[in-house]
Symmetry: D2
């Protein structure tokens, strides 16, 4: 099977990531290979051994997935081609027949812990929590008898011969994880009218107000920021780069104009792609920022240059 | 003589305007026609009966010359092709033989009055001031015996058979008037590396912060404003348009980018020309705003669009 | 009669200024003295010989009245205590019996000319215009037979034995002049809920973006600017100070906060008063900018300082 | 022993956190209790059973420590009273006598993994990594024979009967972790002239540009931001709060003014304390932002209100 038909993903099997990946129509026609970590999932993409990798990037409870964010800013450039939003609800998986009263030890991915903390305090106040490498791995450890129960997706129960004792557990309303499909640099997905554009940029030296200037590049073209994440550059405490997701597609003139402004005013900027919004919400355009306004302004400028008007 | 060889100017003869006009090399080869007012000087340009008009636009003591500013924002569009700065110092012109002690009445253009007010208070505290239609007209009225003395340029003495009793009178240090050569819309003067660009614009409706947004268009491209003047639109108290002179030439990418931003964010914008700065001071470019930075940013964007980088 | 009961105003009698002054209730109980110029009207106030002076400050057609603006920024500080808006419409005053066809020469204040220019072009295209020192002075010159007609307020006809041949002449719809009552520094008028606050300020040296910073002081507290006027400082071309009228009263916390910001960020700032808006329109407060929001924020800060919250 | 003399910290013993804690002079006189997680370390502080907790908050390679950040924004308010910076270098700990060639499995805290990734690729390309709950826990697991080697601080070797096979391992130059001492709300530490102030705030609803407005509150008072971190509010994807560390102390007028601005313009703001900067670098004050400038501005405003100046 050629690399063109292979997707890697953050494994193991039986996690929310795999469940999210299956919502992509093309997943049915790809070889799907679970990997042990985000870097491990991305290396084959960078080496040409896989077409794309599917990994979590952001969780509405835990925030950015730093492994993914850091792979996007470092190493060879990757681009985002798709995003998927998956509501997150946990099931408490036990070996068949285990009653709640006998659950003394519970496990799960560290990211799951804050999302079930209140539920644990209310229903299993004396249970001891230990982290597992993944939710699926936690399920496996329950299967092996190492823990009494694991928090995981209900869909993981069958794989590990467990049963869901309690379902739909989530401390926060609307807990959602965002996943992205990452591939090598290429032409962005075609605009759909409800798109998102992601970049990571490094501010110039010690320039005070440099971040303010970048945000103005967005604000002055009416391009709404949807997410801003600061990340250390690895050059020492207090050195940050920023990743911004905004509405719009790089083919939209207002977005392209923002990107050119960033390119000029920042030390460096990396284009991470334009791709359809999972929530399909179209943007609200501010007056003077539609493509035709940019075209009209460029036409007018060229008339000024030529001495017409 | 054809219209192409005729310049009008704000007359009458013998004023500072005429003196400034003669500093333009091409003035020697043009028919120079004094007119009674700024509108009267501009009408022949608009009608094709004169090539250009030379009028004052700003005085370092009195501020903007409203007649000129209002002609630039109203009527058919005109453009600025040249500017001239002339230091202003007055002479007190009298009929030959008049001693200072006998000067009881003085005249001059209303604009001259605040520039000689302190001198008058110190040397002729009892003299009565009456305004004349122009400094030259004041000289003529002295010639006719209607007033004892006139404030005017020393160069006006000969024309009216007067003598300069006192020279180099000016309350303010560095009193200077700026004049402009206005013509019909055409290709701007070639960039010299030390240029100025003028626009007038009308903000959108009641948008609060709209002026702030326009100033950001300049600031974000490091284009320094040299003058901002608010003018009523004539649509009622509280309705303004603004005229801004900035450094740079419309052919400079950073300036063109500002103008396109104005075109998009304002209700209307009128390009008034790019022309050599009279003071020949080149701009200080901020990092990321040189033409090559704009070109590099546009190249990069097109690589992003194509899937290269 | 003591100085406390005397108001000066820009004369002569029979002008729009006098008409506007009579709209102030207290005018009926004051001695009203016309003066030949704005400076002449203000000197007695500065010397303690008059309580206040009533002068025009802005015209919806012509813009700021520079004599008044310059007196506000120079000399000893004066404050604005009242404003009056007067719609401006001219009458064409002639000696009784003069038909329109016989009007060959017309006069009026230079400020009147652009406001009747279109009317003149339509109805008296061949009439010659000459400026007079004031509209009332123009009427007097018609009385003396020097001109055929004068543009002035209809109310001036009786004073000079003339008749209004045409009335309600004004090129622009809504032509309005704003007048102010200026007095020596003192406690501002009490807040009415619909007030205005005026300042003049000088930016720091060559700081680029300094004007932007000042406008942000207003914008960040949601204080709407109603007028911004740039004026030369008299220190040379390109040196400006700015006068801003904003909504709100200095006793409003958001306005006081803006003023303190200006005081800190500008080279100099002069408080020109808070006074009732002539149009009585109350401001629309932005969320977080009411007095109680400022009080709550100060209380919270003091709890933070004390270690409570 | 009373709660007043007890500090909790993120354990177990033998981690970098414990090493950093010992750099605080008062640590010598406190009972130091290791806890299994950040929440576990903070609960006793919130319950009054411990005086303070010492936890990592930021790593120059990994970024913010989300458990700590999330505890600061949620639950009852805590305040930062001290910060400590500790350079991070790992040792590879093995059972005495193990040669590098026999190391097939390695462990360590997940946060350690990206910091030793390059070293591993270069020196132990075939070794399998598995995460441990902490670096110290990894050392224990090596002691128990479960893994061949653990990455941990060199100081942990003795505790677990291991020997440091390789020392000073760190992929990034200047890898540093920042730790904070958290206590219940109280009076902030006294200003030292080189301080830091931390806040977390929630923007108002859907207001576009709301983050820009907050950054302006800092920029307009010349208060330099040192770190900005976006965190999900837990209310759904795209809902963020922000934590900002800036230079300055809440007792500095410019900082207090910023905080009041945040309080007014944000939906909510939580003051997290002012404390000495670990790097002891004093701020560079911008013109007009010193305490005396704020005092002078307040004095001037009160003179304006009183009618003096």
């Amino acid at each position: 099977m050629s690399s063109a038909s292979r997707y890697t993903y953050l494994g193991p099997e039986g996690t929310f990531t795999e469940a999210a990946l299956h919502t992509l129509p093309e997943a049915a026609t790809r070889q799907l290979t679970p990997m042990v970590s985000v870097p491990a999932a991305l290396d084959p993409v960078r080496n040409g051994e896989a077409q794309a990798a599917f990994v979590p990037i952001e969780n509405s409870v835990e925030g950015g997935v730093t492994a993914t964010l850091d792979e996007l800013r470092g190493g060879s450039r990757l681009m985002i081609y798709r995003e998927v939003l998956l509501p997150i609800a946990f099931a408490l998986l036990v070996r068949p027949g285990t009653p709640l009263a006998e659950v003394k030890t519970v496990t799960g991915h560290p990211v799951a812990q804050p999302q079930v903390r209140n539920w644990l305090a209310a229903h299993l106040p004396d249970a001891v929590w230990e982290s597992a490498a993944s939710n699926a791995d936690g399920a496996r450890l329950v299967q092996e008898g190492r823990y009494d129960a694991a928090f995981a997706g209900e869909f993981a129960a069958a794989t590990y011969g467990l049963e869901p004792l309690v379902t739909d557990i989530h401390d926060a309303e609307n807990a959602t994880t965002r996943f992205v499909l990452l591939g090598p640099p290429g032409r962005p997905a075609a605009p759909t009218g409800a798109d998102k554009t992601s970049v990571v940029f490094w501010l110039r030296g010690d320039q005070p107000g440099a971040l303010l200037e970048v945000l103005h590049e967005y604000a002055s073209r009416g391009v709404n920021m949807m997410r801003i994440e600061s990340r250390p550059t690895g050059e020492g405490i207090g050195q940050y780069c920023f990743q911004i997701d905004s509405e719009g597609h790089v083919q939209d003139r207002r977005v392209g104009d923002v990107l050119m402004g960033l390119r000029r005013s920042c030390r460096a900027v990396r284009f991470l792609g334009s791709y359809p919004r999972a929530d399909r919400q179209p943007p609200t355009l501010r007056s003077g920022t539609a493509d035709e306004d940019f075209v009209a302004a460029a036409d007018w400028l060229s008339r000024c240059l030529d001495g017409r008007d």
